[in-house]
Symmetry: C2
DNA sequence: GAGTATACTGAACGGGCGTTCTGCTGTCAA
DNA sequence: TTGACAGCAGAACGCCCGTTCAGTATACTC
């Protein structure tokens, strides 16, 4: 993901920083001034490469300050902010990573979403994590990953349905443990692959 | 707050919509095209008025697409998104509304933060609302207001310290009720004014 | 009736800014 | 050693775009 040539990475970082801190994208000359590139063409070359590689977007050509960040950029590196798309309910079907948001975005400070990699948000249905302080209707912010460690709270796909549970590997089977006084854990055998969608890294609730 | 002349409100709404949906501010001519204003000066007049009234900002003059929204704009109207500044800990001193963010921002879909008016976020210290699923370290999103209704979860100033409690008016006194099995409520007499800072409208937790 | 705010048209100026072209210097793999 | 890629310089073109100046029209207040 982050296999950019060093100078291109600097250019991308510079553009991202300016967009985040100033609220409006820089011009080629502004980028050049910051990085010591006197020719606009020098910057244009880098931008062209970054667009081709999917790190930047240029929706309208020939337009002043027309550079935009893509999801690839906002969910990478040490960006101070992060756009987390809300992909749907955690009890309804398979969540799919998409560029465009379905139900809006959670825009959070980078330090509030631990770890790297793409993230998404889901709405929790049911009370299975009530003892963790996660209620029906809460949103969970999930970092996409296929594996998990014992004790992690994960979003897993069981019978084509996504659920939020604690993850425990017990020998050959996996235990998906709810945080509810009366609900029983779900066991997934070695044959049925437990499709881990990601790890819950944050929770959001609306009153 | 929203006492703008109708046409100025349309211009502001148009600019805000374009910034939110396209990610980059519009030019005067783009605004004019959308609203049927053929002269850039017509738009410039509206922008000038909106800047003077504090609804827009123009940090650099003479710069293409240099318009920015102010906190006044983002926390008003039917904006689809909302920037909520994080102002500090809920147990540490008086929260103050400021233009610039202290600890970053929660950028949330408008429909996720009920109600109107300016909002801010605070970090909760202690376990006093544990039974509500609000843990130590959680963030609460607070809509600024001076009054509250029975049962509201509010941020109140008691002895110059901000706390999160449920609000109940009981005759002449006010009861600030924690959601904790062993913690006692705080009573505020009629003489001591309970300084309500706002109402908790959302919660955010980071793992 | 004078003054002020709103809401524009039309035109022109001048710098901002993306684009394009040519050409240069490296490095690295084939 | 030929080629591809990264990373520039320098210059020129031409539209984009904020700004400014000069008016016009309506509505409202004093």
């Amino acid at each position: 993901m982050d296999d950019l040539p060093p100078r291109q990475a600097e250019v991308l970082e510079c553009i991202r920083r300016i967009i985040v801190t100033r609220g409006i994208p820089p011009t080629y000359r502004e980028v050049g001034d910051e990085l010591g590139i006197s020719s606009t063409n020098g910057v244009a070359d880098h931008v062209k490469a970054l667009v081709e590689k999917g790190y930047l977007r240029k929706p309208m050509r020939g337009v002043a300050r027309g550079l935009q960040l893509t999801a690839k950029t906002t969910s990478m590196g040490d960006s101070p902010t992060l756009d987390v798309p809300i992909l749907g309910n955690v009890a309804a079907g398979v969540p799919i990573m998409a560029d465009e948001n379905l139900d809006g975005c959670l825009h959070l400070g980078r330090d509030m979403v631990p770890g790297k990699g793409p993230s998404f948000a889901l709405r929790v249905r049911g009370e299975s994590m009530i003892e963790e302080g996660i209620h029906d209707g809460d949103y969970v912010i999930v970092r996409q990953q296929q594996t998990a460690r014992n004790g992690d709270m994960v979003v897993a796909l069981v019978d084509d349905e996504a659920t939020v549970k604690f993850f425990f590997k017990e020998g050959k089977r996996i235990r998906l443990q709810p945080a509810h006084p009366t609900m029983a854990p779900i066991f997934v055998g070695a044959d049925q692959r437990a499709a881990i969608q990601g790890k819950v890294v944050a929770v959001f609730r609306k009153y």
